[in-house]
Symmetry: C2
Subunit: 473 residues, 2 copies
């Protein structure tokens, strides 16, 4: 029976993918749109449908999409594969190696324990300590899975277990609170840096393509700092009020951190090299407008230093499964999304959108569309899939309605991250923190939607004021 259900579920999933692709391909092609553009759209939408329905893992779906591009002659194979040489894909690939170095040398744990020792004597402080670690790491590690899943999660769980808080009766003692708090802060951290999360560089690419605005590392961080710090300060308090831990004072956490720091001992040579690479890479990214060295070159330089400094071995590089998984699906999606943005479809869509939105006030259009964009994330299991599918068309419509370009670009960019707080599958770390089993799904969703109201008020309200002050609109 179960086997039967599983098979029919797989058939339904594949059905969704094929119907999407074939449906679009056979639908009447609008006048003035080239056949290749239309096929590209069909394959792209089928791939996105595949990422949502998941008849196979995401990476396999994307690889099938790339194959479809080449087999149907929509692109020469060299073009279809071009995403794998795209510098932003390599930037994300590099993230996994930085994260590996952080884990291997223990530097990530050391940073977390230093924060915990400093402010971890109270459960709220403990939450801030973990989230602050995430924020520091987000300055150079644009893989939230590696950062928040690989480095922070084991620490958060150990802390909960140190207070005998486990899934079940003791969940509310500490663990449930920490899981919700760290995850809700994580999506804010993602929004704060160009390197907060893998699809931020992709957003930057789209923004450049559609609106000619260059979202540099520095510009992204400047726009995010006021709303980001506010959200980061308020959301933990909100969680503490709505979903308090039974254990309010946590002196043992500080002691635990103390013990762990003793156990780590003084920094090893490799750990120092890791710290140096961290500082060099972050500094070079921050100062790109002065020296003009490309992100990806800086990232490769970081990897080279880790290899030369003996922090990573070649074996670490080639056996980093997660890196190659992301490389495969991200490279394909970046290419498809990019190619779609270059077709006549975007221009045509902008014309139609302009006709529809004629007479709307731009701020009304921006507000309504931003909310639709945001809550549409209930339907996505990955920020990248959502951004690839929706960022360009929504930006185009908002711009067509007359919204100032920098405002629209930044608002949609930041919301693309914060929206992931809605569900337990919104972005990579979500299933990890939810899956630990401390929190029921209804609770997770209820807290997610309440946090989303606060975040929207901060990012669209105070954020808009801040961007006005910066002269961006």
């Amino acid at each position: 029976m179960d086997r039967h259900r599983e098979i029919s579920s797989t058939v339904v999933r594949w059905g969704v993918v094929f119907l999407t692709g074939v449906g679009v391909a056979l639908a009447p092609r609008p006048e003035g749109i080239a056949r290749e553009s239309w096929h590209l759209l069909a394959i792209f939408l089928a791939t996105i449908a595949g990422l949502i329905a998941q008849p196979m893992p995401g990476g396999a779906m994307v690889l099938l999409g790339v194959l479809a591009l080449a087999v149907t002659g929509t692109m020469p194979v060299g073009e279809a594969l071009a995403g794998y040489a795209d510098p932003i894909v390599w930037l994300v690939l590099a993230a996994f190696f930085f994260a590996r170095g952080m884990i291997k040398t223990g530097l990530g744990r050391r940073i977390a324990f230093l924060f915990i020792r400093a402010v971890g004597r109270h459960s709220l402080g403990l939450g801030y300590a973990l989230a602050a670690t995430d924020m520091v790491l987000a300055m150079i590690i644009p893989s939230n899975g590696a950062r928040c899943g690989g480095i922070l999660f084991p620490i958060a769980r150990s802390l909960a277990e140190a207070y005998d808080s486990r899934p079940g009766d003791s969940a509310r003692r500490l663990g449930a609170f920490l899981m919700v708090l760290v995850y809700q802060c994580e999506v804010i951290v993602c929004a704060m840096f160009l390197t907060g999360q893998a699809s931020n560089p992709l957003i930057a690419k789209f923004a450049e393509q559609v609106a000619g605005i260059s979202l540099s590392y520095a510009r992204w961080a400047v726009g995010a700092i006021v709303p980001g710090v506010l959200s980061f300060a308020l959301i933990p308090v909100l969680v503490y009020r709505l979903f308090p831990p039974e254990q309010r004072r946590t002196p043992e956490a500080a002691t635990f951190a103390e013990v762990e720091l003793k156990r780590l001992g003084p920094m090893s040579r490799q750990e120092k090299v890791m710290l140096l690479v961290f500082l060099v890479v972050a500094a070079l990214w921050m100062t790109m407008s002065w020296h003009g060295i490309h992100y990806a070159v800086i990232a490769l330089l970081g990897i080279a230093l880790l290899l030369l400094g003996g922090v990573l071995s070649w074996e670490d590089i080639i056996s980093e499964r997660g890196a190659w998984d992301v490389f495969l699906w991200y490279g394909g999606l970046v290419r498809m999304g990019g190619a779609l943005g270059e077709t006549d479809l975007t221009r045509r869509f902008a014309e139609v959108a302009a006709a529809v939105t004629a007479g709307w006030s731009w701020w009304g259009a921006l507000l309504v569309l931003a909310l639709i964009y945001f809550y549409a994330h209930y339907g996505f299991a990955s920020i990248t899939a959502h951004v690839t599918a929706m960022y360009i068309p929504f930006l185009v419509v908002v711009l067509a309605a007359g919204a100032p370009a920098p405002l629209a670009v930044h608002a949609l960019a930041y919301l693309s991250n914060v929206m992931a707080g809605l569900t337990h599958y919104g972005t990579t770390p979500a299933p990890i923190y939810f899956g630990a089993g401390y929190v029921a799904q209804t609770v997770w969703w209820r807290l997610g939607v309440i946090a989303s109201w606060v975040n929207l008020a901060i990012w669209l309200g105070i954020g808009a004021v801040w961007w006005k002050a910066l002269g961006w609109w």
Copy 2:
């Protein structure tokens, strides 16, 4: 003391790399050569020096080379990374997944055991059986490491051990003979197919670039079939004469194969899918001139079928370390070699070479340069490194001397493979077969050089006659 020696050895290795790079970069740049071309040459030669001296694993050296291209502004980073989107790199990547499928389903072993059961009752037949398996697999698996190391080597060793032949006193009983025979046949098999070995598609790319000759899968195989079959038939007999096993009759090998085939049982569904993919991919490659589908598309199609047919899981793809190792170094080298071929350096070098070789007979030039090219392989630990460094310049000189292009292209292409038989480090499987410990180095080299004379006579002598008959010169 040893630690001391190790450090100074590392310093010497790095010294070779840096002196090569800096030396060339600072050397007076010939008139008419752009600064970028010259820097490209310096970085390329330093990378090749790194592949030979190996202060770090090859992949790391290539990644440093790619970084150097970008940091020095020799190329924009997107161009420096372009090799990772090159279809031939993906063809080689696909090879590892085909090999994984062959291993996982047991089809590779089944093919070997079928051959052994048929002709394995005598030690010479046993050798042919193993080599024939290699030849069949080479039709679609352009990774000789995966094929000859991953699939064949465990069988060869089991057979030797079945006759209690182990490194040491009993080595000559059977094991030593099998190791030498299989390896010497392996380099011939490499030469027989465009997919025989990873750098063959690279050679095809260079041949197209320099001489405008398109070395398709079919054309490569047609040119190789007469000398290839001859070498393949004679070399085992030669090894049998010069280095006979003590155990001449091996009825137990056939029994062993019979038992193993029973144990494998009837073909599983996955194994059938693997066989089907094998046949489809080989057939599509063979018939490219009819349908025009690109190699890499066919390779991707094969992977897609393996994924859809449940032969490979996504986990198999992302955790295939060897695949990602080769991807990283091959992608970088392909790009550097290709870019170098496009610069003004090649044209200039051809002019100089033409002036030097003026008055030589073309066949004398071809013969002498082919021999130098061949025996230079004593200095290389990889066919790819050798080909990348020397194929283009040697081809240019031979063409400048007036040799017919198809003859020169094919002769150098085939020799690029056969030359790997000289040493115990000539190509990936060499250290595996040698490293099994059955054969002393002096013996390995002596047999290698004798086999090289026979191979040269066959490929340059009878080969030339065959290519004349084909109308290629």
